[in-house]
Amino acid sequence: MGKKKVHKAKTGASHNKEKHLQDDAPLSKISTKWMLILTAIALTGIFGVFYFVDFSKSNEQDKVTSSRKPFPSVPINQTVPVGFEDFVGAEACSSCHSDIYNKWKTSTHGQAGGSPKDVKVIGYFDGIPRKFKDATLTPYRAENGDYMFNLKTVDLPEQTYRVDEVVGGGHMIGGGTQTYFSYFPDGTLRMLPFDFIRDEKVWFGETSQGQGWVPITPDRIIDKESEWFPSRLLGTHLDRQNCQQCHGSQIEAKFALDKKKFVTNFKTLAINCESCHGPGKEHIQIVSGSDWKEKTSLGLKPLVTFDKDGSLDVCFKCHALKNVLDPGFLPGDDLEEYYALKFPILGFRNENPYHPDGRVNGFAYQLNHLSSDCYIDGSMTCVSCHDPHEQSYRDINGQVLASPFDDGQCTSCHASKAINLTAHSFHKIDSKGSQCVSCHMPYLQHQAMGTNLRFARSDHTIPIPRPAFDASIGIESACIQCHSDKSVEFLQNKVNEWYGEVKPHNDMVERLLKFDPSMSLYEASEVLLPDSANHLMGQMAGLSEFAFGYLKPEMKDIDAAAVNRIKKYINNADVDVQSVAMASLHLIQDSDDEIHNLLVDKLSQMEADRRRKIMKRWSSVLPIMAKKYEERGNYNDAIEAYRKSLEIVPDNIAVMINMAVAYSALNQNAAANQILDRAIKINANDYDVWLNKGNILLKTNQNVKALEAYKRANSINPWVGSAYFNIGNYYYKTNNVNEAIVWYKKAVEIEPNMALGYLFLARSYIKVQDFKNAFTAVKSGLRLDPADRAGNQILADLQSYFAKNN
């Protein structure tokens, strides 16, 4: 499967971008929480005015002064979640379902990954060194047959990694790759950022500097932008970049408090029966009984009976970008409890992974099928064309087709076009141009992967080629893929000549295209929030444009007509759209009793499961908006958004941490401290809370208490580099530099790509006049972050020192 994972900053598994401090005040580092776009913050000042905001008090005041109804609590989920022990593995299915098992075994899902002993390794483990600018990678076979990587990095000890698991088999037509995983001492199974691509036959890695996938070449440095040091782990975990639960079967990655380690469980890194069908234990128990023929339920649902959206969700649990609401999803669990599939759309326009017409902008999976007319005006699901067991192709009636390019996928419904194919295609019969998918499902390079290596996926919005329009949004039209010698103008004229007027875009798409951020709030609401639409992806995009572009907390004078448009959306049947609308209304006018009570009533009328799903989403939309306010320096609005989020789900620790950070940015340290104490009451074993608590304490010169907090975090999870780093900061600040050096060294040992760790290590060495080690440390830091001003100053100082003294 296409594996790469260019997650936007706002998705659950986000890149962390650090703001670095340039003065020489002690630094603290806050680690991030999964559901927020928390950028790790280095606190900038110790002193500042601080105010005190008391939440409980302000809430009480609300209660006293009005007839406002309280928000209902989040209903407890009565459904027992699926457990890892409920799964039996594919082999348990093979005795009864041997025909299907055999088909699956050779399918792409069946060969999607696994132990290197079981799957075909396509990477060249040939012992030939591949050179980075600052490192040399040698993939090789060990004497015992193990697949190994040797990595020699300038200034660092030589490292070797054994390939413990493999993901991918180079199966995908538009660019197949293979990725290798290795166990790390903290119990995680981490992706090694050295991938192999089938067609180009090269080792490559991902950069996030805009080039996407780049082969390993001597001009590339190996740094965190190349996902070095390996940090992406298998399984969904809140604090780490991760592969969620998709690149394998029944993946479970948890931090075990008692073992102080991660526990990673999975059945296989292939995609097995239970990935789609759910846990099979009960099924095996039932069919082992002699009376199974009399049982109405066999412990598994027949997927063929699922309705359109139900069927799609079976695939979307992996084949879609999604925001994590709760970790721990396993097949058989209710997808909507764990993921919000349309939430990756949230944010500003350039952050939407889909263009207004639904096509992939950057990187995405196939959720944009929901933008296709085949979905909106038809019944198309994944299994309309894809055989779920062998990933072969079939027509709407389930008849097997010869290839992925077979017209039967389309013409079993669009029979009218098959009567005289050339009259429609204007290309010679049996030519590539005459194939339906050549024009309507072209393979488009995902731009996030850059242009060096091919990662093209067929366009599941099933569009009509519109050369001029396509060019205008930066997409290569289907026409130009073959006729690259022709201008866009020529191709558009040809389309005009052949087809005249073509089918207009969906009204919602037209609206998104028409929208211009310079519009007034009222105009924007008219364009983006139509009274009726049949395009949920577009409606989500419109709502997001409007909410992120125009809304902020408590807009007293907002145009009533615009508010009414949002009000209509709080009745939307889609759980994502509805929750964003409710959160928006809550954000802008909750102080209006009527609106407040409307929201309360709406929630109260929902069935418990729906209410819980809505509230989870609602409470996670507001922090995403808060992050945007923070990006614009507006911490007060951010705090207000966090506060409202906690009104809906009061015990969300991630939101509390973010809120504390925002208070801290305003130097409202007491408020920050208070909210963190509240978090500790909810969960005293969350190391992130303790880290942040330590930061506030250190900042307010409560140094000893800060050290206690950091050590508490460190004792809960000894695998977090920033804990060591922050303890180092304590010793540095309290002038115990030798001790600081010990802790900074541990920090970079655990996170070898922590530039700040090296820089502060260098500074500490300078203090103890160990200039040689200082020089090595600062070079490592600058290798990772060449632009760091303080680091460059240290380097310059050291160089002039060596020049003078040598």
Partner: protein
């Protein structure tokens, strides 16, 4: 226009009339009725005799000519002159045996409700055909007492019985006063032959002039004797006549909307012309019901025996969907049923069928959901009290159908049932086999389906034509309505209202290609009802294109402009 053309039959040598169609007007008659009918009816001996006498093949096909029966059942050309409407009404509701000389045959019970019977009565009462014969002026009132003597002493009592007198060879005239109109009765006694082709009743009092247009008395006082006889017979009223009249009048008054036209449709729908002669009822249809010759390979014998004892609605609104035809109840005796079964199964108990294993509960459940949510079957078939009323109920089919036959119907309906409108539904083989097993074995609920009201549902006669309109009428109109108003008889039984092809504002948004695709691949692919089946296996591309054009004529609209440039179907 000439609708009737019965040739004279020289089967039993007594042919009286030759009706010919002469430009829509008068019939000419030749011959003189003298000789009585041969032997009345010989006893049925072979199974074939039973079939013939009961007239099964008049509807079930296989007969090359209308049977004997047709000559003996009452000619209804002038039913309005002949019968009192309250009699027709009550008789239709509850037919009883009247005639003893028509062998095993009888008027069966069609299960008409009051409104249906009223409609048919209105129609029959409107039938006022009068033979082109100069009758004497029967305007005097006869003497009942003299009439009674006449009845007893003259030939009447030889064949008829009335009030305890005479022999019930032909029929009992005891309640004549409640049945017939006086004027007609007089004319009939004078010249029975002109009212009924091959009538057994001799014209004893009059004979025809040589040009066959005038009646010449054969006896003295012929006119007076007829007046007296008629007066006597008309005086014989059934004890519940007033009650019957009341009932009829009440129904009539409370259903003023029921018109003659509907009655005529019901007359045609029930193939009345299969047994009754008439001058203006449309053509007799050779097959309005399953062909008996093929039943052996399709229907299980035990089921058929039960069915004949008490027929119920297998197809609730016509063997040809929409035609409203019914299998009436003949109140068959065990001997009759036994003989019919022998005829159908040809003494051959060949009921060999492939054993199909019963599905597990789980599979049954799965198929049930598929029937409810994915497959088009329940658009036409009813099942457990829901679904369409076009085709047979799907419950427990192993009782009714041969398993091999069922499998072949599901697999390829056009081969298994030539002439059916059921389209072949493509699906994976495994699913089809599970569906077949489920249909054979599901026993959860067998709801006996009833015939649909012929008054409340539009009757649509299928057309044998091959043009687009005919295809639309026979395949689409049952749901979409003849004029595309979504009011076909089956529309009321669908959860989703069928598309209104007459809705120009909606249809103007649909490209022709979309209409084509929807017909070809079914409603579900357009995000519409899965109950609209795919017709791609049953209709040719040209036929579907024709339907698209026809739908455009129903909406009188054009497709969206963007869909019409260059790229529409060529």
């Amino acid at each position: 226009m000439c609708k009737l053309s019965y040739k004279a039959f020289f089967i039993t040598s007594i042919i009286v009339l030759q009706w010919a169609c002469t430009g829509g007007r008068n019939d000419s008659r030749v011959g003189t009725p003298i000789t009585p009918y041969k032997a009345l009816i010989s006893a049925a001996e072979s199974p074939k005799d039973y079939i013939d006498q009961l007239g099964c093949l008049n509807c079930h096909g296989g007969a090359t000519l209308p049977s004997e029966l047709k000559a003996k059942a009452p000619d209804l050309s002038g039913a309005g002159n002949r019968y009192k409407p309250e009699y027709i009404f009550n008789y239709l509701m509850n037919p009883t045996k009247v005639r003893n000389h028509i062998g095993l045959s009888r008027m069966p019970n069609f299960g008409f409700d009051e409104r249906e019977a009223l409609a048919l009565t209105s129609y029959l009462s409107s039938k006022r055909y009068a033979p082109n014969v100069q009758f004497p002026d029967f305007s005097k009132n006869g003497n009942v007492k003299l009439g009674e003597t006449e009845f007893i002493e003259q030939a009447c009592a030889t064949c008829h019985v009335a009030n305890g007198h005479g022999n019930n060879v032909i029929s009992d005239l005891s309640n004549m006063g409640s049945k017939l109109n006086l004027e007609w009765m007089k004319q009939f006694i004078a010249a029975p032959a002109v009212f009924q082709n091959r009538s057994l009743m001799p014209g004893l009092l009059y004979h025809f002039s040589t040009d066959s247009t005038a009646l010449i008395p054969s006896v003295e006082n012929a006119e007076e004797r007829i007046e007296n006889l008629s007066a006597y017979l008309l005086s014989l009223e059934s004890p519940d006549h007033d009650e019957q009249l009341d009932r009829y009048e009440t129904i009539k008054k409370s259903n003023p909307e029921i018109l003659v036209g509907l009655g005529q449709k019901i007359y045609q729908a029930q193939n009345c012309a299969g047994c009754h002669q008439s001058n203006s009822d449309g053509e007799w249809k050779e097959t309005v019901a399953p062909n008996l010759m093929t039943i052996k390979s399709r229907i299980n014998k035990a089921w058929l025996v039960e069915y004949m004892k008490k027929p119920h609605a297998v197809r609730p609104f016509g063997f040809y969907p929409g035609s409203g035809s019914r299998m009436p109840n003949f109140n068959l005796t065990e001997t009759e049923i036994d003989n019919i079964v022998r005829f159908i199964y040809n003494e051959d108990n060949n009921e060999k069928q492939t054993h199909i294993e019963a599905p597990s509960r789980f599979v049954s459940n799965k198929i049930k959901i598929l029937l409810d949510e994915k497959l088009p079957c329940l658009g036409c078939h009813s099942f457990e009290g829901r679904g369409g009323k076009v085709a047979p109920d799907l419950s427990n089919l192993s009782k009714r159908l041969n398993s091999d036959y069922l499998a072949s119907v599901v697999t390829n309906p056009a081969v298994a049932m030539p002439g059916t409108i059921m389209p072949k539904i493509s699906m994976p083989e495994k699913m089809r086999n599970q569906l077949i097993a489920y249909l054979l074995y599901n026993k959860d609920s067998v709801v006996e389906s009833k015939y649909l009201s012929l008054v409340d549902h539009p009757i649509t006669f299928p057309s044998a034509g091959l043009n687009s309109e005919s295809i639309y009428i026979s395949k689409c109109a049952i749901c979409h309505g003849e004029k595309g108003n979504a009011n076909g008889f089956n529309a009321a039984y669908l959860a989703t209202l069928p598309t209104r092809h007459a809705d120009s504002s909606y249809m103007a948004k649909r490209p022709d290609d979309t209409l084509f695709d929807g017909v070809f691949a079914g409603g579900e692919i357009l995000n519409k009802s899965h109950l609209m089946p795919p017709w791609g296996n049953a209709l040719s591309n040209d036929e579907i294109r024709g339907l698209v054009t026809y739908m455009r004529s129903l909406c009188n609209c054009r497709p969206p402009s963007w869909s019409t440039d260059n790229k529409t179907m060529k």
